[in-house]
């Protein structure tokens, strides 16, 4: 189902939770609402569900304005953060609930419940009560229950927040496959970047009630459109005077502009590792942090301390080592504008190479 939102606005007392949000979601897409806690993501989700009423704006499902429809009539499935399973009903009864409300026949209900139990890998647990299930199992029941009445739109509110890390990973993959298979338009809320990047087709970054950017994970990483997005995604360092770095002297032309440098933008190592040695400058290694799959290296260069990742395959560095540092690009921003600036020396060096 195609979902469109225009000018959505919501206040809770004096707290302005959602500020003039507009977006459009194509049918069958899996969208992640990502952002810091308290930013308004859950409020947007709940307004889509009809559990809260917007102060202003339109919500349109498949071309039809649904603002005045209660949750019962919107054809949605909602998965709550804390599962909200009916504590006094068995797994089977929980899943069957929406179907009983729609007055399906007993045999139809039985078939559909069996289908979903199979689909969510809960075979054998039909007669259990929620308190007899693990967190992961409960969440799967919540999915099954939401999917049973064949909704057009699936809404998930931080579905994995309350689950152990290892199970979380499995469930994420499972969810992605499930939704791909069923082709339902889905929107989920999360504050976990990795989750959003791994699961969603597209991400919407929500901060302080505003939609900062909407795009594929790759897009957002490569072309952050606002300083918040640039800083929120990945780990980065803010640099006050970008022009201090070799290759970015041109930044002087824009006073008051700060730079944001991601670890991925920085390359360090002994001189032998570089092709464009002339574009590098000298730096000194600070602290090193082992991160399981790579090293996080702090390096002091051009009067600025940056962080970067270094593969385990490469020669191991030590604190105090002198290394060559190449800053590939920086994300520059000031009050009016933001853009990515490439290291000038890379371009010039290319000419020389030829």
């Amino acid at each position: 189902m195609h979902v469109e939102v225009r000018g959505l606005d919501k206040k809770f007392g004096s707290f302005h939770a959602v500020k003039d949000v507009s977006f459009s979601i194509a049918a069958g897409r899996l969208i992640g609402l990502l952002g810091p806690s308290g930013g308004g993501k859950t409020s947007i989700l709940r307004m889509l569900a009809g559990l809260e009423a917007p102060d202003a704006g339109d919500i349109v499902f498949h071309g039809k304005r649904v603002n005045d429809l209660p949750p019962q009539e919107r054809g949605i499935g909602f998965v709550f953060q804390n599962y909200a399973l009916f504590k006094h009903m068995t797994v089977a009864d929980n899943i069957a609930f929406g179907l009983e409300v729609k007055k399906w026949s007993k045999s139809q209900i039985k078939d559909r419940v069996a289908e979903l139990v199979e689909l969510t890998g809960l075979s054998g647990f039909e007669k259990r009560l929620p308190h007899q299930l693990s967190g992961g199992q409960r969440q799967r029941v919540a999915f099954a229950r939401a999917l049973a009445p064949q909704p057009q739109l699936l809404l998930l509110d931080e579905p994995f927040a309350a689950i152990d890390a290892k199970i979380r990973h499995e469930l994420r993959t499972w969810l992605r496959e499930m939704i791909d298979r069923l082709g339902i338009t889905s929107i989920f809320v999360t504050h976990d970047q990795d989750e959003a990047i791994e699961v969603a087709d597209e991400i919407m970054i929500i901060n302080q009630g505003r939609l900062e950017q909407k795009g594929s994970p790759w897009d957002i990483y490569q072309n952050p459109q606002t300083p918040f997005v640039a800083e929120f995604i990945g780990e980065s360092t803010i640099v006050e005077q970008v022009s201090q770095l070799r290759g970015f002297e041109a930044a002087e032309a824009w006073p008051g502009t700060k730079g944001l440098i991601r670890p991925e933008y920085v390359e360090i190592g002994p001189p032998g590792e570089f092709r464009l040695l002339s574009a590098t400058e000298s730096g000194r290694v600070g602290r090193l942090h082992f991160r399981g799959s790579e090293w996080l290296v702090e390096v002091e260069v051009g009067g600025v301390r940056l962080a970067t990742y270094r593969s385990l395959e490469k020669e191991v560095l030590k604190p105090g080592d002198e290394v060559r540092v190449l800053v590939h690009r920086a994300y520059l921003f000031n009050d009016n504008d933001s853009w990515i600036m490439e290291n000038k020396l890379k371009e010039d060096s290319l000419y020389v190479q030829i």
Binding site: A49, G50, L51, P70, P71, Q72, E73, I76, G77, F78, F80, N82, A84, L85, F86, K87, H88, F97, G98, V101, K102, R145, A146, A148, P149
Partner: protein, 265 residues
């Protein structure tokens, strides 16, 4: 040291609670089985017990219905602003602070024969004060908070998410209440009902004031006991009191059982 405290506690319970109970049981038989039977089966006693029973049934049913409804409104309704809700919340507890005699007085002031409403109803042939309706209203007032105070915390604790989930699955008000809300509050309601039964059974001060304690017309079991004591007819008073005490003990057992179920929910 431990043993000392335990022994002391037993002593307190025995003296304060146990001894009086035993004494009542003994006292009813002071004039033998006949004395007891007479005290219990004399016409005014039977009528009084019947009237008490009627009041208990009516009051419990009405306050159960309105109590549960009000609890839902005070906890879940969004159409009541938070300020209103806090205010109403504090008001719910007020009857606990009101002395029963004052409770009865209030009913007389509002619905007595000289008042506007009382007069109106009187001309329609409905007597409120010094009659059953007034006694029922007085008892409704006194027992009002009991069920509400049992149900509200539970509603708050279970949260509205299950109900919201049911809504997203297509269920409407009554279905949601019947299948999702009620199973969670059921035992708290039962406990509240048991408390209400106990309280309306034992209500004395408010009913005494409102009813005028007219024998065979507006006398309840408790006001009959009072009358007997005033007339130095202790054995008869004892008989009725024993029945009430036995009833209370039974209610107490049910109360403890329901409380345990409610805590488990």
């Amino acid at each position: 040291m431990r043993k000392l405290w335990i022994a002391l506690t037993f002593a307190v319970f025995a003296l304060l609670l146990g001894a009086p109970l035993v004494r009542i049981a003994m006292g009813a038989w002071e004039e033998g089985w006949d004395g007891f039977a007479h005290g219990l089966t004399r016409p005014e006693a039977l009528h009084a017990l019947g009237l008490t029973g009627t009041i208990v049934v009516v009051v419990t049913a009405v306050n159960a219905l309105f109590g549960v409804a009000l609890s839902l409104y005070l906890v879940r309704a969004a159409w009541l602003g938070p300020r209103w809700r806090n205010l109403l919340n504090s008001i719910v507890d007020l009857p606990f602070a009101v002395s029963p005699v004052i409770g009865g007085l209030m009913i007389i002031l509002l619905l007595g024969p000289e008042t506007v409403v009382g007069g109106m109803l009187g001309s329609l042939g409905i007597q409120v004060v010094y009659a059953l309706p007034g006694m029922i209203i007085a008892t409704l007032f006194v027992t009002f908070p009991l069920i509400v105070r049992e149900v509200m915390p539970v509603l708050q604790e279970i949260g509205s998410q299950q109900e919201e989930a049911a809504a997203t699955l297509g269920a409407r008000g009554w279905t949601i209440f019947r299948r999702v809300t009620w199973p969670s509050i059921r035992w708290s309601v039962v406990y509240g009902i048991v408390l209400t039964v106990a309280r309306s059974l034992g209500e004395f001060g408010a009913v005494l004031v409102v009813s005028g304690n007219i024998m065979f017309r507006t006398q309840t079991a408790t006001t009959l006991v009072y009358q007997d004591v005033e007339n130095f007819n202790l054995t008869a008073a004892n008989a009725v009191a024993l029945v009430l005490a036995a009833g209370s003990a039974a209610i107490l057992l049910i109360m403890e059982w329901a409380k345990a179920r409610a805590a488990h929910h």
